[in-house]
């Protein structure tokens, strides 16, 4: 008992190093989680952006929060995929039969998702800065943005864990990502919801991504954040708790 607890963090570090290598050695992952969002940002700003009335003079400023959420959503399928392969290939069994903290095998994947998303988000923000993104946000606002993004990542990662452990096939493991990809598109991430027909508008305004986008946008532009942050936090924490509960259930069933 003692030794597995004592080594929890170093075991996690080994697990993190392992799956970070999986990411950096997979061009496919890098393209989907970093290059695609940047390409979308370029497309929206320089091709479509001219025709979009977002109410700000600087469309990059309007767009960036949604792009960041999209990048995170894109990475989620890979969390399921990596976990699924571990279970299938027997690596999970190997780790579980070793004297290490059992949850390290799961937390390693979740932590990897946090670290890799942090890196791709920094890269995307740097590109946005080159494209004319400007922010009046102070250090506290930036920290708040980082906090929301981390919470959003954590929430999606635990959903991905459920899919990765319970799936019967690779397709089943990665399919979880598709509905999540759509949420930013039907939100205020790219255009204000006022322009949408009433049914879609009602959905867009009451789904989790819109308050998250609005809260990040307000933090970055130095506007008052209002109730959005609380709605965003409630969504994230609520889904996170439910996802974590179910993830632990399927995990315990599996081992």
């Amino acid at each position: 008992m003692e030794s597995t607890k004592k080594h929890f963090f170093s075991d996690m570090g080994v697990m993190l190093g392992r799956s970070m290598r999986h990411i950096t050695r997979s061009m496919d992952t890098i393209i989907t989680v970093t290059i695609m969002p940047i390409a979308l940002m370029l497309l929206f700003v320089y091709v479509i952006g001219g025709a979009i009335q977002s109410g700000t003079d600087n469309y990059v400023n309007y767009l960036l929060p949604g792009i960041l959420l999209m990048a995170i959503a894109n990475s989620i399928g890979y969390v399921s995929f990596r976990l699924f392969t571990d279970v299938q290939r027997g690596i999970f069994d190997r780790f579980h039969s070793m004297p290490i903290a059992r949850s390290a095998a799961l937390w390693g994947h979740v932590l990897t998702s946090l670290v890799s998303n942090a890196i791709s988000i920094v890269v995307i923000i740097l590109v946005a800065l080159i494209m004319g993104f400007s922010s009046s946000a102070g250090i506290l606002s930036w920290l708040a943005v980082a906090g929301i993004l981390a919470l959003f990542t954590l929430t999606l990662a635990w959903i991905a864990v459920i899919a990765g452990i319970s799936a019967k096939s690779v397709d089943g493991a990665t399919v979880v990502a598709y509905p999540i990809h759509f949420l930013p598109l039907i939100s205020s991430a790219f255009v204000p919801t006022e322009t949408m027909p009433s049914g879609i508008r009602t959905f867009a305004e009451n789904q989790p991504v819109t308050p998250i986008v609005e809260a990040i946008r307000a933090f970055l532009s130095g506007q008052p954040v209002g109730s959005d942050i609380w709605v965003a936090l409630a969504w994230c924490v609520g889904i996170l708790l439910v996802a974590y509960f179910f993830a632990m259930r399927v995990y315990k069933k599996r081992v």
């Binding site: 030794s3 075991d11 392992r18 290939r89 004297p99």
Partner: protein
Amino acid sequence: MEKAIEVKSLQKSFKDTGVLKGVDFEVKRGEIFALLGSNGAGKTTIVKILTTLLIQNGGTAVVNSFDVTSKPDSVRQSISLTGQFAAVDEILTGRENLIMIAKLRHLKNPRKIADDMLDRFGLTAAADRKVSTYSGGMRRRLDISMSLVGKPQLIFLDEPTTGLDPEARIEVWKVIKELADNGTTVFLTTQYLEEAEQLADRIAILHEGRIIANGTLSELKTLFPSPKVEYVEKQPSLEEIFLAIIGKKEAK
């Protein structure tokens, strides 16, 4: 002699299907013990219970004098599992796989340990290649070498040669024999009679959830009708032909 494994009336069912219906056996320290049985006989279920991956419904299992349900951490300290499919990380290199396991076992000098294992298993030349480029036999050797990191007293090999070509199978047999020569206890499952005959000090046959025979090869032989003398022209088996043609058997 001290016992490495002691299993008493072990039972396990999945939903309503009873897989193990009261299994008893003992494994002595330092021997190669083979559990023989057809597909679906419950061999992997026994391995999973003994390696703390599954919990039994009834009976007891003691591994290296630790009970698997009450002292799973102590059991994990003293064993190593090589599962049915080579549990290696395909995206890492062979060296990285070994270093990872050494670090997870909290050993000093993980690099040195990895180098020694690579050398011992003839993988030095391929050490810095991704495992996805390895052949089936190389993967199995890496898999077994990963299980040996930290010198566990007892190693479980679940169908170590299933899916390997004849050459690779002989390679793996050689490795297992060396393990036993160095004093490691080996618990082996297999569906190949020849494999059990080649390697095992003691053989148990698992059939329909029970051990129906258990003993040394010569003990098992006495269970059967006494041998008759027949004159049969000895034709080479296809395996012998195959190995003779590729001519690598002698080189090894």
